[in-house]
Symmetry: C2
Subunit: 137 residues, 2 copies
Amino acid sequence: MSEAEARTLEALRAEGRRVTTARRLVVQLLARTSEHLTADELATRVHGAHPEIHLSTVYRTLDSLHGWGLVEHVHQPHGASFFHLAGAHRHLVCEQCGRIHDVPAAEFDALVARIRDVYDFELQVGHVALVGRCRDH
Amino acid sequence: MSEAEARTLEALRAEGRRVTTARRLVVQLLARTSEHLTADELATRVHGAHPEIHLSTVYRTLDSLHGWGLVEHVHQPHGASFFHLAGAHRHLVCEQCGRIHDVPAAEFDALVARIRDVYDFELQVGHVALVGRCRDH
DNA sequence: GTTCTTGCAAAAGCTTTGCAGGAAG
DNA sequence: CTTCCTGCAAAGCTTTTGCAAGAAC
């Protein structure tokens, strides 16, 4: 069990919440992959071992985890959002090929600071995918 | 008729397309408001004078105008996209109050250049709303 | 007249919700 | 045993699509 996985489950207990099969599996998947999975993709993988776990449960699990700050989701302009454990990278999505590039959050610090200073607005760069095009498109 | 309105209709003719009631009204609304209207809101306003114009027509109109580069749409993390005539400002949406702040596109030039140089990725900042929080939230 | 658009109805895709039964602590 | 979670089914919301009738040029 990865450190992130253990830490997340521990945080759950600390919140006084229950560690259920659905939650354990979702956290496991998120902790062990570097892919960017949607709720539907997570459900499909969960179904491998536990077909009874419903897609709506996956959504509720993700929503709860997000509620206690353990999971983040990224809205894509077309198609479903994807989810990952709370962390420090941002996402660039190519409109052409759909590939997702990870970029350190620090790349956006200067912009965030400037928007804060000039517009009194606290940007949350992680909550939506930044879209554009890969070099080859 | 505003300059933007005339210019947009002219571009339509130049494309060899037809100037229909639906298109004229949608362009008119977009040109005359500084609000950020969704397809549904546009349809509602169109219905004031022309109740027969269907929501799907509004969608198709917006899609066509987007196709010839006359209209842009901005995806919001929750809820419907909003539309505006092609222009040079970007949008910050407050997650708390929903207010939309306009910011000159130039604010993002440095970031766009850096992402291009370092990651070979051409950011299109205008296509999704940047979310965050107003100072007072 | 020809071609482009539209109205309508239906569906698609993602996500949320009500409710009653079931599991965790 | 009490409270929290889950399965299921249904619905919600935004957006897209097929098709035949209608409008623009």
